[in-house]
């Protein structure tokens, strides 16, 4: 197990800059996901770590050792691909044993280690099954066993659950999480699925257009996003655009056209006086408050234990509110409010670009 560092790593294909120079440090045994839409450069980042791509600039370190120019086969990495990339002409055992055979380990030890690896992924005794006879979930687990059996310094996973159906994906997410907690291994996990990233990771890296937008724990990203992109990408959010009146001791005031009083909230980094910004309030933080802001309910969506409601407050300002079933008013209007600590004032990505 090892620490991993990207220092100033960038990648250019011709004229298009797929990765802008970025830094990322992963601690020993830490599970870090890279979350972003397609084209954000997350797979490129993974390929640089695996050695499949050489960075245009920058260096890649494992345990403070610069391995930027080391070929993949000398890196001792475990890689799980989106389509698993299992060798179709070999059985399960031979697939898992492949990396051990390359390392010239005795066949007795290979058999033991393969059996143990298959046991970890709950496929005990499946050595002689053909790859084609396995379901998607089983193939995924074989791929995991094949990557882990070589005791890699780092585990790299490229959307490994992408091909599974929704229900199975949830089960495997938890399984991988438990496996990781049992035997922590430095892991870089690429996905475009926010739920996946939140469930499994110690920390999440949000990427867009070849840049890291924010790195943090799931809670940090959710409650204090760095900008409106991260806010929008993770979970539901109300974003109310306005102009910053002033910033003082970590708090900012935002004037919003159509609202009499300015909104007050925690100022994100980069928010300054007179700039365009947006106030973010999560829908679950918009609560009933008699005498608060008067809103007309224009849409109700029943989501089981909670109900989401779209409210129109003031001129053209719309807010989503999520309330537990018992709290949902049966009226056409409701008065709402929120606490200042539930408001974040964020640089408005959409408008500053």
């Amino acid at each position: 197990m090892s620490t991993v560092s990207f220092r100033g790593v960038s990648k250019r294909f011709g004229v298009s800059e797929v990765l802008q120079p970025l830094d990322l440090d992963i601690r020993t045994g830490e599970f870090v996901s890279v979350l972003g839409p397609s084209g954000s450069g997350k797979t490129t980042l993974l390929n640089v770590a695996a050695g499949f791509l050489a960075p245009t600039q920058g260096k890649f370190f494992v345990d403070e050792r610069d391995i930027t120019s080391l070929p993949p086969r000398r890196r001792n990495i475990g890689m799980v691909f989106q389509n698993y990339a299992l060798f179709p002409h070999m059985d399960v055992g031979a697939n898992v044993a492949y990396g051990l055979r390359v390392r010239k380990i005795s066949s007795a030890e290979i058999a033991t280690r393969v059996a143990r690896a298959l046991q970890t992924v709950q496929l005990e005794g499946w050595e002689s099954r053909a790859i084609a006879s396995l379901s998607g979930g089983q193939q995924q687990r074989v791929a995991l066993a094949r990557a882990m059996v070589i005791e890699p310094d780092i585990l790299l996973m490229d959307e490994p659950l992408g091909a599974l159906d929704r229900q199975l994906r949830k089960n495997v997410q938890l399984e991988i999480r438990r496996m990781h907690l049992r035997a922590p291994r430095t892991t870089l996990y690429v996905t475009h699925d926010q739920e996946e990233a939140l469930v499994m990771s110690d920390r999440v890296t949000v990427m867009r257009s070849g840049r890291i937008e924010q790195i943090g724990t799931a809670e940090e990203l959710y409650h204090s996003p760095a900008n409106t992109f991260v806010a929008r990408f993770l979970g539901e959010s109300n974003l109310i655009p306005g102009e910053v009146i002033d910033v003082a001791s970590g708090k900012a005031r935002l004037s919003v056209p159509g609202l009499e009083r300015p909104l007050v909230g925690r100022a994100a980094a980069g928010v300054a006086k007179a700039m365009k910004a947006a106030a973010m309030i999560r829908p679950e933080n918009i609560r009933l408050r008699p005498g608060g802001l008067h809103g007309r309910i224009v849409e109700r969506v029943f989501l089981g234990e909670i109900t989401a409601m779209r409210l129109v407050v003031a001129d053209g300002i719309q807010l989503w509110s999520r309330l537990l079933g018992a709290d949902v008013p049966q009226t056409e209007t409701m008065d709402v409010g929120w606490r200042d600590e539930d408001v974040s004032i964020l640089p408005d990505e959409a408008r500053s670009k």
């Binding site: 294909f13 797929v18 797979t43 490129t44 390929n47 499949f52 791509l53 050489a54 490229d158």
Partner: protein, 284 residues
């Protein structure tokens, strides 16, 4: 996922090394012979262009050229007609029948053209089974000459080239939505109308590909015309053979070869604008 693929500068060198042996064979056994013939065609003692002048000034050459193109054209027309009927039958036949007919169409491709031509020599003989059958059924009064003339060459070449027509036309026809044909027939269209308005336009590309295959192969055919044709049916490939083996006239052989090659390449340049010829390699 192009961003996931490795790109190394050593790849270009590796590719060159891997390709080198095959390209060497192409160079020494394909390009060098052609270059040699080109050089020979300009090597007449009478002057650089003398061989071409002699060839193009000789009436025989023009007769032979006319024979070659005429034969290729007629063979192409007959083969396309038969090939279309067969391809259409293939699309309409059910499982087992389709497989059997398909096998029958493809099977001959594996047998040497020489063997197939020899077979036709036996079949087309004056006392052969075809003459006998036609006399017995009263189609003709007495056996007719089928060998060593245009008829024999045409029959055998159509037979040899038929698969090259069936395959591309069939490939085009199976892509036509059967619902279209049903619709056309449901609207009361006769088969002739359906054929003209639906089948032919929608399979035009396949038919054009087939025509290109058959015509180009016909132009270059040597074995069948040489064995089944008569003295009056000489084609350019036979003329080249004569220059080399009987007259030992290398400059003329070179010039005739260059002209035949030019004819083929010219056809490809024209046809290639309309039809993808990469399939030529896949036809067999």
């Amino acid at each position: 996922m192009t961003e996931g693929m490795p790109q190394k500068s050593s790849d270009a060198l590796g590719a060159a090394l891997l390709l080198a042996p095959a390209l060497l064979v192409i160079a020494i056994a394909f390009l060098a012979p052609l270059a040699r013939l080109a050089a020979l065609s300009f090597s007449s003692p009478q002057g650089v262009l003398a061989a071409y002048r002699e060839l193009l000034g000789d009436e025989v050459f023009w007769i032979v050229l006319r024979n070659t193109i005429g034969l290729a054209a007629i063979v192409t027309i007959i083969t396309l007609t038969g090939g279309f009927a067969l391809a259409l039958a293939l699309t309409r036949l059910g499982g087992g029948w389709r497989l059997a007919l398909f096998a029958a169409v493809v099977l001959p491709l594996w047998v040497s053209v020489l063997v197939r031509t020899f077979s036709w020599m036996l079949l087309l003989e004056r006392n052969g089974p075809i003459n006998e059958a036609m006399v017995a059924t009263g189609v003709i009064g007495q056996p007719v000459q089928l060998l060593f003339n245009f008829t024999g060459v045409t029959i055998a070449m159509v037979h040899v080239l038929l698969p090259y027509a069936v395959l591309p036309i069939y490939a085009a026809l199976v892509k036509i939505d059967p619902a279209l044909l049903k619709a056309s027939e449901g609207l009361g269209a006769s088969f002739a109308t359906t054929f003209q308005r639906v089948l032919l336009p929608l399979s035009a590309r396949g038919v054009a590909t087939a025509a290109a295959f058959v015509f180009l192969l016909s132009l270059s055919f040597f074995v069948t015309p040489a064995l089944l044709g008569g003295a009056n049916n000489m084609t350019i490939p036979m003329l080249i053979d004569t220059f080399v083996n009987e007259r030992l006239a290398w400059p003329l052989a070179g010039a005739a070869s260059m002209l035949l090659l030019g004819l083929v390449l010219g056809c490809i340049a024209v046809i290639g604008r309309f039809v993808p010829l990469g399939g030529l390699a896949e036809a067999r």
